[in-house]
């Protein structure tokens, strides 16, 4: 089976996060009561006409530039004709011959190796409504309900070249694509809400020429589904080819429950969409200066940010990756570093304790996190106290400085107090002291921990360390006191 090369191309639909729909003024929102966000235009009533939303074009251009595409200053809208209850006009306004943008590329890492995928084209179009069938599909359902709130929400369709060579790469690509579009603030890209959707084309190519036809897979509703469906399909096709069979060009759907792909229709019976230029909309002509303005205003994109974290800020590859993939963490990281804190130290906090608490849903600004790090740097509290304070910051929104003052938190840096604790710890663990003295020096950490525990984390760890080492070395002949 290994002798087949896999070629995968993806077709991605992304809902743009504009306030209003692409051809009318209705709100483009998710989750409103059915058919509450509709007007004559998005319902396709007789006599209604589309008017292009400038924001949708701007978002589309921003996405195209973020994906390194060439933006066509001249593009056209076209009608894609087909009947379906959720398609109000029985045609979708899309772009066909002359798309908004072409020739882009996405660079990303696959198992830490840099790879690249070509974006063939990116175009604007409108969403259809949402059909809810009483049964599994429109065929055989007793009834179908349609919600037109979604009809007319702006979409971009992104088509890649078939240059992805494995299911894992397809997943890595889609994750990077999502990240780029989130950074470019064109969409929330939630697969679970359908604001990011992906269809895949996959074909197998044998060295001895037994080439398979392209098979399209639909209904890939998660990154995992994408990877699994492709893996399943690659295996299925290889098996057929090995047995001397023929792969038919067809459209299949991913059955999540059965974890397999199922035929929807053969390409031979595919609908003819009878595309033609949309006569209700003039061609879309963009001002080059406007496009350049959008380009200039693009935020830093994931790859550039990752490089900067690694080279300019000296973060580990791991931390840089974690931060870039979690924009909300990266933002706090940036804010905190901007206050003058050491980047790797901030990264440790942000990707560690901070990320752990942030998972509960609340957030703490970089400024406030900076205040906490300041308290630790000043030696006012210990790092381990800092974690407690951070938790309070997340759960009760406390200001670190006020909280420390109010709770009387402080570091025990009193030598005499600590000295007696050190001695007590050593006395209680005579066996271990003996082993330490015999050369098992890693036990020092254990002793530090014991002292810290005894002081509820308030001890100044460096001082504890020093006192312990001193006590242990000075007392090479140290003996327990005789009663």
């Amino acid at each position: 089976m290994g002798e087949y090369k896999i070629r995968i191309g993806l077709e991605i639909h992304v809902e743009l996060a504009t306030k209003t729909k692409i051809f009318c003024g209705c709100a483009a929102a998710f989750g409103a009561p059915p058919n509450s966000l509709c007007c004559p235009t998005c319902l396709g009533l007789p006599g209604s006409l589309p008017v292009l939303n400038r924001a949708a074009v701007e978002f589309g251009v921003r996405a195209a530039l973020a994906l390194n595409c060439t933006v066509n200053l001249y593009s056209e809208f076209a009608r894609k004709n087909y009947f379906y209850p959720d398609l109000p006009k029985a045609f979708q306004i899309t772009q066909h011959d002359k798309p908004l943008a072409v020739n882009g590329k996405v660079q990303y890492y696959l198992e830490d190796q840099p790879v690249e995928t070509v974006i063939t084209r990116l175009h604007l179009e409108e969403e259809a409504g949402k059909s809810i069938h009483s049964g599994d599909s429109i065929v055989g359902s007793e009834y179908t309900s349609v919600d037109y709130n979604r009809a007319g929400i702006p979409l971009i369709e992104i088509v890649t070249a078939p240059d992805i060579t494995s299911p894992a790469q397809a997943k890595a690509f889609l994750e990077q694509l999502r990240l780029i579009l989130q950074y470019a603030q064109v969409s929330d890209c939630k697969m679970e809400n359908g604001s990011l959707r992906c269809d895949a084309n996959i074909s197998l190519h044998g060295e001895s020429g037994q080439n398979g036809e392209k098979v399209e897979i639909k209904n890939l509703n998660s990154f995992r589904a994408l990877e699994r469906a492709l893996a399943y399909e690659a295996k299925r096709q290889a098996k057929i080819l090995e047995q001397g069979g023929v792969i038919l060009p067809e459209t299949r759907t991913w059955d999540e429950r059965a974890q397999k792909t199922v035929r929807m229709r053969l390409k031979a019976g595919a609908p003819d969409y009878r595309y033609f230029p949309e006569p209700d909309l003039p061609p879309l002509e963009l001002d080059e200066a406007w496009v350049e303005e959008i380009r200039a205003a693009l935020p830093e994109l994931p790859l550039a940010r990752e490089e900067r974290y690694r080279s300019a800020l000296g973060l580990t590859a791991y931390d840089a990756g974690v931060l870039v993939r979690a924009p909300h963490l990266a933002q706090v990281f940036e804010e905190t570093v901007a206050l003058g804190h050491e980047p790797q130290l901030v990264a440790n906090w942000v990707t560690g304790e901070y990320a752990r608490f942030a998972r509960q849903g609340s957030t703490v600004s970089g400024k406030v996190l900076g205040e906490l790090l300041e308290l630790i740097a000043e030696g006012a509290i210990s790092a381990s106290q800092g974690k407690t304070v951070l938790e309070e910051m997340f759960t009760n929104g406390v200001s670190p400085r006020e909280f420390v003052a109010a709770k009387g938190l402080t570091v025990i840096a009193d030598r005499e107090v600590l000295q007696s604790m050190v001695e007590e710890v050593l006395q209680n663990h005579q066996e271990l002291v003996k082993r330490y003295l015999e050369g098992e020096e890693r036990l020092l950490g254990f002793f530090v921990g014991q002292v810290m525990q005894a002081t509820k984390g308030q001890a100044e760890p460096r001082l504890v360390n020093k006192l312990l080492v001193k006590a242990l070395t000075e007392g090479r002949n140290w003996q327990p006191r005789e009663e």
Partner: protein
């Protein structure tokens, strides 16, 4: 219309009286003409009363406040059905007014009702209405033309002072010619299409129909203008009424395209049109022969594009959201049965033709080819207007034909032979009566001008109209 406006202004007549007069006319005559699909008695009288109150208060909405109008039934009106003369939209009430309706209401015009048309404006005789056949007031056995046959017949029969029609390939001008009234197909983009139920979006225009060139000019000034809801609407589209005739056509260059006077043209129509050209020459116009070499292809080109666009525009009538629904076991059967029942034969024919020309395997040979020829025709027209100000042609090859006479759809399509070119090129075109044939049936002359030069059409049209009237009253015709 200026006389009516002055009478209203002077208080010699009220809007209520005026509306009542036309309602009475409709009541007594329309059973023979069948121009109206819906008469809004109450609405019109209410609007008239409001107009009279405004007049009394000295705050009329316009000089024409209170003068009623008829509206073709493919233009959306709140409170009245908008059926497009189709079973598909029987009892369909639009939740919004067309922009032109908003404008005429804004000028204070009470709407008498909705006029008949060929179903979805597909046809040239109004015989393809799903509800009734409209009769030509000049001869009830003949068609009024179409598709705006209802508005044309209503104006001609005195059932309304003026009306709105729509024109995709000649649907204002051909019925205006058949009924002996004046009609304008405006420059594409000058009158908003918001609320016009689409036939072919790249060619549809709403336009005025009336008894005189001046009336048509006034109504045009009320409906023209930019509308941001129509993306093909042109900025600065407004038109100010109030140009006085200059008394001469000196400096006007008339182009006579010989292609429009050849085979298929009735000799009587040709003679009257040539005579009208001579009159304009007498008024000082310069006459030049010109050529529009690709005009021979305009009907084929027009039909290819109009059916293609129509097949898509009419796809939305699927029974899901509004209009007729024929219940069936599943959605696809419902689509099929609804459309089978809802559409008449001509609509089905055009949908099938349009679907065919857009199909991937025929797209290049038909649709793309037609788009290229459209460009050539537009270039022909553009170069013609470098030489002349107005292109003069007959409006139709013949006068009104008998009801039931044209059974062959191809013969019917040829009715638009001289008019479709203006829609393909997007230019304005005016038709006005220029005499009658020996049966007493009206003959129309078509004047076409460059984009946005409706002013030239009205000027030339008014001069010709006056000259014809003078000749008529002196018994020289």
């Amino acid at each position: 219309m200026r006389a009516l406006a002055e009478m209203l202004s002077a208080g010699d007549v009220t809007s209520v009286e005026l509306v009542q007069h036309y309602l009475d006319q409709i009541q007594s005559t329309d059973q023979d003409i069948k121009a109206f699909l819906h008469v809004d008695r109450e609405g019109a009288l209410q609007a008239a009363q409001a107009a009279d109150e405004r007049r009394k208060a000295g705050t009329p909405l316009s000089p024409w406040d209170g003068i009623p109008i008829a509206v073709k039934d493919n233009i959306c009106t709140v409170g009245m059905p908008t059926t497009c003369a189709s079973r598909m939209l029987k009892d369909y009430y639009s939740p919004f007014d067309a922009e032109v309706v908003t404008r005429i209401k804004g000028a204070g015009l009470p709407i008498l009702g909705k006029t008949n048309l060929d179903e979805f404006a597909m046809g040239s005789s109004t015989e393809y209405s799903a509800y009734q056949i409209t009769h030509n007031p000049h001869d009830l056995t003949r068609v009024p033309g179409g598709s705006s046959g209802g508005s044309a017949a209503a104006v001609a029969a005195g059932l309304c002072p003026w009306g709105l029609g729509t024109d995709t390939g000649g649907s204002i001008r051909q019925p205006a010619a058949f009924c002996g009234v004046v009609g304008l197909k405006p420059t594409f983009g000058r009158v908003s299409r918001w609320g016009l139920v689409a036939l072919a979006s790249s060619m549809d225009q709403i336009g005025p129909m009336g008894r005189t060139v001046e009336d048509v000019e006034i109504l045009f000034s009320l409906i023209a203008g930019y509308d941001q809801r129509d993306s093909t609407s042109c900025p600065d589209s407004g038109y100010e009424f109030g140009n006085e005739s200059l008394g001469t056509l000196a400096g006007i260059r008339l182009g006579i395209p010989e292609e429009f006077f050849g085979e298929g043209l009735s000799p009587e129509v040709a003679a009257r049109v040539r005579e009208a050209v001579r009159r304009m020459e007498d008024l000082g116009a310069e006459v030049r022969p010109i050529s529009l070499p690709h005009s021979a292809y305009s009907i084929d080109t027009y039909l290819t594009l109009v059916t293609a666009e129509a097949s898509s525009n009419l796809a939305r009538y699927d029974g899901v959201r509004y209009g007729l629904r024929v219940e069936a076991d599943d959605a696809v059967s419902m689509f099929k049965q609804t459309r089978t029942k809802g559409f008449g034969p001509e609509v089905k024919r055009r949908i099938m033709l349009g679907t065919y020309v857009l199909t991937a395997s025929h797209h290049a040979a038909y649709y793309e080819q037609a788009r290229r020829v459209r460009t050539l025709i537009t270039q022909d027209v553009e170069s013609a207007f470098e030489e002349v100000d107005v292109v003069v042609t007959p409006t139709t090859p013949s006068t009104a034909f008998r009801i039931g006479e044209k059974q062959d759809p191809l013969q019917m399509y040829l009715s638009d032979s001289y008019t479709a070119i203006a829609n393909l090129a997007g230019i304005p075109a005016l038709t006005l009566p220029c005499g009658k044939d020996k049966l007493g049936l009206p003959i129309g002359i078509q004047l076409m001008a460059d984009h946005f030069r409706e002013d030239v059409l009205f000027w030339v049209g008014r001069m010709l109209e006056r000259s014809l009237k003078e000749a008529d009253s002196s018994g020289r015709i």
